[in-house]
Point group: C2
């Protein structure tokens, strides 16, 4: 054995297709890959972690956020959506967004995500080159999409400018093991037909995912019907936008025709339960989407509408809220929900090498301490993770074979500096608000 | 100053009627009481805690649980309610409930509650004498109600037996600073008129709260209407049961008349959001109850239907889910929700000395570390606590002036022993299920 990292004596939840669980196993990692999962590994490794009494599982995948918005966490809560957006968030973004803001906010988000067991995230925001540099340095896997809008954005005078920037991002990061680029038209109501088609063409040219907000609010759907006679999903289909490359975020307000189209075009859906609740956006028909065989993953959305990036919190909300919506405690069982945060999310990204653990797969792994009062007794590991656990159980994090957090200490960043920067930026933001 | 405990340099969230916040203050505690909150305390204390950069706030109050059911956590999830109850929970309780089970389960629950910042809880279960002893030893404030049912329970052959036991509990604990006794008829559908009236008479005689489940499911309300032509609330009122002493738990299915009656009789309501979601019980009209001026507090319910006792999780769910129910992101703001878990809960218990911090009040206090990536920047402390924080932020816990947890170490119990006992009991329960 020529191993870099050996994790010994762990309870291993693989999340593979057969949902294999190893009661006690060793995991052997060489370079970025898992090479063996075995009752007892032979030989030695450069680094050994004793995981006796610990749980080893795939890192969680947060399929939709706006990472730098951690800096706006809790700034404007409990408000009507239009006041939240028009009076607070949008003017602040116009004023504040610059490379420094992004580095600071993404650093804070990355620290929060690593600490709570997220090993991959999908982002839609601005200055994603800065985000890429931060994530690359920290060792966090990221899918980054530069927001494309018809109107001038805090970063780009035009959609073409944002699309060119996306292409540049792609050419800088195309061979990076951690950073992937997406094409990210913001939404059908902020991107006209021409720009949506340009975005799709770029995604086809470079073979990239298309990340887009779709049907988040009833108002959006009503506006779409008024303008085109079509729902946002019908409209996107009518212009040839939809395909298996499309990651459609929110999908709260869908009709039967929408669901049929999403299925036929093999669109991937991202559900942001906590954000939908907090902004009172509505009830996404996730049970119906799953019944239709559509791939659904989970996202926290930005910290301004959640207000954290903890995927354990998100799973808990998803599992519970849909029971209430459907008036049926058997729907959205814990196993289904955990898949949505791991293996199904990997499927949404078109990747077979993450989201589950097996020899040959990429080592994106988290180690949890279950030796806590709120996690005992242990009858059902899926229930425990979804209904009882939180991000704070995560002790160690391995991404692409690299140990990023060990025993609650993040090895790849200066945590105090990240927190200090966030505090300073918070003070600057408070000052801006006072003077506006 | 003759102080036992001095907490220095804290951000102090008082939750008093004026919602006073002290940016930096010292808290002086003598015996069980807060004697001073001041910018700079003079003199010394037996014990000093430097809380620079920390938050000091009232301990949280969990107004409804079945503490020993922590031992059934995650045992039977994602099932129809009747299967959950009739096939799993009830037969197991019949078989397993004994003093040892209660000591083990309450010990585990108490450890979980203390660690997540709960300083007072209300319980309805069996063998509450055991629960009282465990809580008294650990130093956790508890309101304990022995379940009264018409049918034989795992502990009592009859309702009279349970009521006599309640009276004995009262006489043993009546002068205890931490343990209070409640009269706890299980529900109008499990207690006939005679037993409800006997329970009320006992509560009147001893001046105790009456803790009862009311209108948890639609089936319960339909059954009540079929039997008496009245809703459960109308029925309880018709037999003279309701008063300001009554703590009505759940109140999910209420009509306008019910809300009017609850208001007129000054009944206190406990909302168990996460349990209602997980069991798909329905949407409690909490916004309407608050609008009517009814006192509403929060409870986790038992760990078998939650699956943890973390009041921070509960607050997050309450604040978010009602926004969705009312399609209005402005309802159930963070401040309102935090009141429900502190000062309003104290009001529901008829106590003015806990649930908020001021000189003369009882020192039930928690200290939180906010120096974490998911809690920065800090714009709004209420938002941060309700939407971003979890029980794991709690570092130190003071109950009745006694330091129960310091820097994450519980001082009043052997944590390893509690966890070991829970594991052993879990193994015994698994064995029982296999052989049944």
């Amino acid at each position: 054995m020529k191993a870099d990292l050996l994790i010994k004596n762990a309870l291993v939840l693989t999340m593979d297709d057969g949902l294999t669980v190893h009661d006690k196993a060793d995991l052997v990692i060489a370079g970025p890959k898992i090479v063996e999962i075995t009752p007892k590994a032979a030989g030695r490794a450069k680094k050994t972690i004793d995981a006796s009494g610990k749980l080893v599982m795939p890192g969680l995948i947060n399929m939709h956020t706006h990472a730098a918005m951690t800096l706006l966490r809790g700034l404007a809560d409990d408000m009507p959506l239009d006041v939240w957006w028009q009076k607070f968030i949008f003017p602040l973004e116009q004023k504040l967004l610059d490379p420094e803001f992004i580095r600071c906010g993404v650093g804070l988000a990355a620290l929060e995500m690593v600490r709570s067991g997220t090993t991959t995230f999908s982002d839609m925001y601005f200055y994603e080159q800065e985000a890429a540099e931060v994530c690359s340095r920290i060792g966090l896997r990221a899918y980054l999409g530069e927001g494309v809008l018809d109107a001038p954005s805090p970063h780009h005078p035009s959609a073409d400018h944002a699309l060119n920037y996306t292409k540049e991002l792609w050419s800088r990061w195309r061979n990076d093991p951690l950073i992937s680029i997406m094409v990210a038209p913001h939404a059908p109501y902020t991107c006209g037909k021409d720009n949506l088609i340009k975005a799709k063409a770029l995604a086809n040219e470079l073979d990239l995912p298309l990340h887009i907000h779709v049907s988040e609010t009833a108002a959006e759907v009503a506006e779409s019907r008024k303008n085109s006679g079509l729902s946002p999903v019908e409209y996107l289909d009518s212009i040839g936008f939809l395909s298996e490359k499309v990651i459609a975020v929110h999908c709260v307000h869908l009709g039967k025709t929408d669901i049929r189209i999403l299925k036929e075009r093999r669109v991937k859906v991202v559900h942001c339960q906590e954000s939908n609740l907090k902004l009172a956006s509505g009830n996404a028909p996730i049970v119906e989407l799953l019944d239709a065989g559509i791939t659904v993953a989970l996202g926290t959305d930005g910290a301004a509408s959640n207000n954290n990036l903890d995927m354990f919190d998100e799973m808990d909300a998803v599992a519970k809220v849909h029971k209430m919506i459907k008036a049926d405690p058997t729907v959205m069982d814990a196993q289904t929900v955990l898949k949505m945060a791991t293996s199904e999310a990997a499927r949404a990204l078109g990747r077979q090498d993450i989201g589950s653990l097996a020899p040959g797969k990429t080592a994106d792994i988290i180690i949890l301490d279950l030796n806590k009062p709120h996690l005992l007794p242990l009858y059902n590991i899926y229930s425990q993770l979804v209904y009882s656990a939180g991000g704070s159980e995560v002790e160690s994090v391995i991404i692409n074979g690299r140990l990023v957090m060990e025993n609650k200490r993040v090895l790849t960043m200066d945590e105090d500096e990240v927190l200090d920067n966030a505090r300073h930026m918070g003070a600057r933001i408070r000052h801006e608000i006072k003077n506006s």
